[in-house]
């Protein structure tokens, strides 16, 4: 591991010196440092900052401190009652031990698990810009079908972020240049020809909180994750959804997919298609297909199109059934 300096952050607006990175739970960063994929000069520990509160927002929303641990957020009674999709997504991720340490901000900023990115001895445009992307012709079964580029087909690995994208959550950011608010759906970039940049954050900007706005129908929301073993596996495809049905008609819907793109994929086109239409299986599938029309699968990941179509249909059907009861 490359030698590094260590200091503690004093305020969220401290910023970072060149070559420095923030350290929160460390469950991803420390692995990458051991592998030589991340080689920071300085670690700035934000664990001492008072950022772990989960607070009510007016109207029924929640402000989740960036330092709140995944386990604590998943277990919070308000999250479980008002935003079950978020609790379910968190509990579908990682392991109990990891969730006890991993933070809300860190979960959003975790990096792809693309095998080529995780190996400094191999080319990868994300860890070594310009070195190429072997995943396109190599192993990409788990990788992106939407929004990818010739430079990068990585997926964002978070489950939590998919739920937050569906819920329309925003990220509060602090830094030397001041504070700003970014929608979760706009936090992560698509790779384009600069896949080395995962997010729109500037160097030194720190996520201080995630705000989940009031969404009354989100008490009927859910997260479904398909994976290759029963636990402790990244998604091969996932669906976060909330559904508001009135007299058999979709009044509103929130839909996001995981493990399909460089960011948690909010299915805006599918949502648009569904609003005002009958809450039927055929409509749900048709809506998924509208979104999936943009998919550009590679040799070994075209199955994700069928998987997402089936999962989306099933998840929305289940939510619609719940609404009828």
């Amino acid at each position: 591991m490359k030698t590094f300096a260590y200091r503690t952050a004093v305020t969220p607006a401290d910023g970072l010196e060149p070559g420095a990175v923030f350290l929160a739970g460390g469950t991803n960063l420390v692995d990458l440092m051991k592998l030589g994929v991340a080689t920071p000069d300085v670690l700035v520990d934000v664990n001492k900052l008072p950022l772990d509160e989960i607070a009510d927002l007016p109207g029924g929303g929640l402000r989740i401190g960036a330092g709140a641990r995944n386990s604590d957020v998943a277990a919070d009674p308000r999250v479980r009652r008002d935003f079950p999709v978020l609790s379910e997504a968190l509990l579908a991720g990682a392991s109990g031990q990891l969730r006890n340490v991993a933070t809300t901000g860190g979960n959003l900023l975790q990096r792809t698990r693309c095998r080529y990115f995780m190996d400094a001895s191999k080319p990868c445009n994300k860890h070594t810009p310009g070195s190429g992307c072997p995943a396109r012709d190599g192993d990409h079964r788990d990788l992106a079908i939407l929004g990818a580029s010739a430079s990068c087909v990585a997926t964002h690995p978070s489950d939590m972020a998919v739920a937050l994208a569906a819920l329309g959550a925003t990220v509060r950011v602090d830094g030397p240049a001041g504070r700003r608010v970014i929608p979760v759906t706009g936090l992560h970039r698509l790779p384009g020809d600069t896949p080395e940049r995962d997010t729109v954050l500037e160097h030194g900007e720190l996520i201080t909180a995630v705000e989940v706005p009031p969404l009354p129908f989100a008490h009927r929301s859910t997260y479904r994750k398909a994976r290759d073993r029963a636990s402790y596996a990244f998604a091969v495809g996932s669906v976060a959804a909330a559904l508001d049905v009135h007299d058999g008609v979709v009044r509103d819907v929130r839909l996001a997919w995981g493990a399909v793109a460089h960011r948690p994929w909010r299915a805006f086109a599918a949502e648009e298609r569904l609003r005002g239409r009958p809450a039927t299986r055929a409509e749900f599938t048709a809506a998924a297909d509208v979104e999936l029309a943009a998919a550009e699968p590679l040799r070994d990941n075209a199955y994700k199109i069928n998987l997402l179509r089936r999962m989306t249909t099933a998840v929305l059907e289940r939510l619609a059934e719940g609404a009828r009861r």
Partner: protein
């Protein structure tokens, strides 16, 4: 010939259990050694080529950077993988081509990451294909069987049969991943070498490393081992590199493999392509069996997995053929992984039998019973004991097989398709010469010493039980010493032969001490083991699986897994259960999860960590149980025991694959069975 037993068979808890759960048990890398330096292995970044120069950062914080340009010469031994840093030739990606030694692990690792390597890369080939022009038939397959056998005329049998099956199954590269990676601390005192090393055979490692360095006194200490699965059966490059670096630096050196290196440097189970053809009459009687297996080996060494050997003695049929075909690739050398040969071979055979049962409209258990041989079908020799049919029948009762609707895709519960499957299991019963020593101590206890190893299986505990009965004393009066190459020489903890081999020697020593009244007896079993008659020695079993397949996603989960075994006398009911269940869970991994994902351009299995290479987790194991028949077999060894460490992974994958077919109607013939292979064929809901 067996005496009245008291301790043997009892479910004694592992005697080292309290040490292990309290963290006091020391594994190889955990011994405190003054002044120890850390070695980090530099793996080749290309699959084929020549290493022409290594340039270290002169400002780097290292004690030594060893490579073929500066490493001392080593004597060659049988295993060319141990000729580390001796040649410029690169034979696979991940091969050790340099070793960095530093005061700290972190410094060594970093220096290794930024080391400048000058390499002339060459074109490489890494994909196993049956139609590759380089495919050849080896003379023998492990551990010395003929590569091919022919009895009768299988082609005519196939051409004239009522019903035939002709299927090709493939299994991917599988990787031994014991919880404790390979690790060595090496220390020289003059020409005396001490190795704290994680392995399955301390005296074997001592002999090999001694030969490599041209020294007589190598002391290998292997008190506790966190699993091996075959990958620690002989010295691995870590032991040689640690000793080499310690020689050069004059410091003790520790080398621990990172998880990534476990996928290249310590062996793996070869990928296989297997064509199985079956010919049968309408009543299910087999007239012909043909099993042809293709596997790979490295440029360095011919390792020929005995994939189809199991087919030579499993079922009766007058016309039969087996064959093995190898392809050398620019890939690491395969080695033993739990039930080498039997595990992949029985996957193909037992799935093919299931496909035949489907074609015949016959119950797969009845089909197997119909083809039960009275003696080994190819050799004609008698079985010392064979209770396969009883395993199938009694297992079926316990599992609740009767009344099963044989048609696939009929049982739906909520979101899940449900199916059940069965497959047979077998494993050879082996024993190897070993020597044990027993001493009567003044305090009334007995010290039993043998250079065996306990991989976590309970071997240590079982030897105490065996010794107690042979001495006719309570187990509390027996002290056991194992895991040290200076103790009487024992055979490898492999081939499910440890308990039989070591127990034989321990029994001999203890009985002799009891009968002669002497204070100390050393007993060598070589003559007894070699005097055994030619007989068919095998353990048998039957595996039953119930799976559910998600009707939306195609995700497969194993609701129930059951194994019924006939494996001679069970020496310790508690540790035996752990062995059986562990094998079955590993079988689940083989069926559903495990796959070394090859990137042909990189020439490497790219999912080389435990996030990318999935093994079953706790949540995957739902209802799992093992049971066994009270089998008596006095012809195999004094305990009447058969090896049980590997049989659990033999056939259990096929039972699961067959159950997936029963649940969905989909035959997956390329392992592992995963949702992407199932999704498009799922029945309409």
């Amino acid at each position: 010939m067996t005496t009245t037993t008291k301790a043997v068979g009892a479910p004694l808890a592992r005697i080292e259990g309290p040490e292990k759960v309290s963290g006091r048990a020391r594994y190889a890398a955990e011994y405190p050694v003054d002044g120890v330096a850390h070695g980090w292995i530099v793996p080749s970044p290309v699959p084929r080529g020549r290493l022409t120069a290594v340039v270290a950062d002169p400002t780097g914080d290292t004690m030594a950077v060893l490579w073929h340009g500066n490493a001392p010469s080593l004597a060659a031994v049988d295993d060319p993988e141990l000729a580390v840093l001796q040649s410029d030739r690169i034979s696979y990606r991940g091969q050790p081509i340099a070793l960095v030694v530093a005061d700290t692990l972190e410094a060594a690792r970093r220096a290794a990451q930024v080391l400048h390597l000058e390499i002339e890369a060459e074109e490489h080939e890494t994909v196993l294909r049956a139609d590759h022009p380089g495919v050849y038939e080896p003379e023998t397959v492990n551990p010395g069987y003929p590569a091919a056998t022919v009895h009768g005329d299988v082609e005519t049998a196939l051409a004239t049969a009522d019903v035939t099956v002709d299927v090709t199954y493939s299994t991917p590269a599988l990787h031994n991943n014991p919880m404790e990676p390979h690790a060595t601390i090496a220390r020289w005192d003059g020409d005396d070498l001490t190795l704290y090393d994680s392995n399955q055979h301390p005296s074997g490692v001592a002999a090999t490393v001694g030969e490599i360095f041209g020294v007589d006194r190598v002391h290998v200490i292997t008190e506790h081992v966190g699993g091996g699965f075959g990958s620690k059966g002989t010295a691995r490059p870590n032991a040689v590199l640690a000793a080499l670096a310690a020689r050069v630096t004059g410091r003790p050196v520790k080398v621990v493999l990172p998880r990534q290196a476990m996928f290249s440097m310590v062996g793996h189970r070869t990928p296989t392509l297997q064509r199985v053809r079956l010919a049968a009459g309408r009543d299910g009687t087999l007239s012909g069996i043909d099993h042809q297996a293709y596997s790979q080996t490295s440029r360095l060494y011919e390792f020929a997995e005995q994939t189809a050997v199991v087919t030579r003695h499993m079922y009766a049929a007058p016309h039969r053929r087996t064959g093995h075909h190898l392809l050398r690739l620019d890939m690491p050398t395969p080695r033993w992984m739990r039930a080498p040969g039997e595990a992949p071979g029985m996957l193909a055979l037992e799935c093919a039998i299931d496909e035949l049962a489907e074609k015949l409209g016959m119950d797969p258990i009845e089909l197997r019973i119909r083809n039960e041989p009275s003696a080994e079908p190819e050799s004609g020799v008698a079985f010392t004991s064979r209770h396969y049919v009883e395993c199938l029948r009694r297992g079926a009762e316990r599992f609740g097989w009767s009344g099963r609707d044989p048609r696939p895709a009929r049982r739906r519960e909520g979101d899940w398709w449900i199916g059940t499957g069965v497959a047979g299991a077998t494993y050879p019963t082996m024993a190897q010469p070993s020597t044990a020593r027993v001493r009567a101590l003044p305090d009334g206890t007995f010290e039993v010493a043998i250079g065996a190893t306990d991989l976590g299986t309970g071997a240590r505990t079982i030897l105490v039980q065996i010794a107690a009965d042979a001495l006719d004393v309570a187990p509390e009066r027996v002290r056991i010493r194992i895991g040290d190459s200076t103790l009487p020489r024992a055979s490898v903890a492999g081939g499910s032969s440890g308990s039989a081999s070591w127990g034989w020697a321990v029994t001999g020593a203890c009985r002799s001490l009891r009968d002669t009244g002497r204070d100390e007896v050393t007993f060598d079993s070589t003559e007894l083991v070699q005097r055994q008659e030619t007989e068919g020695r095998h353990a048998y079993g039957a595996h039953f699986a119930e799976v559910r397949v998600d009707a939306v996603t195609g995700e497969v989960r194993v609701s129930r897994l059951f194994g019924m075994y006939a494996a001679g006398r069970i020496l310790n009911a508690r540790t035996a259960r752990g062995q059986f269940l562990g094998g079955m869970i590993m079988g689940m991994g083989m069926a559903l999860h495990e796959e070394g994902v090859l990137d042909p351009a990189m020439g490497e299995w790219v999912n080389h960590d435990l996030a990318g290479y999935h093994v079953p987790v706790h949540a995957d194991v739902e209802s799992i149980e093992a049971a066994w028949l009270d089998e008596t077999d006095d012809r195999i060894n004094p305990m009447g025991s058969k090896g049980i460490g590997e049989i659990g992974i033999v056939g259990s994958p096929a039972a699961i694959v067959n159950a997936v077919w029963h649940a969905t109607g989909i035959r997956i013939r390329d392992l592992p069975v995963r949702l992407d292979k199932i999704l498009d064929g799922l029945p309409a809901s």
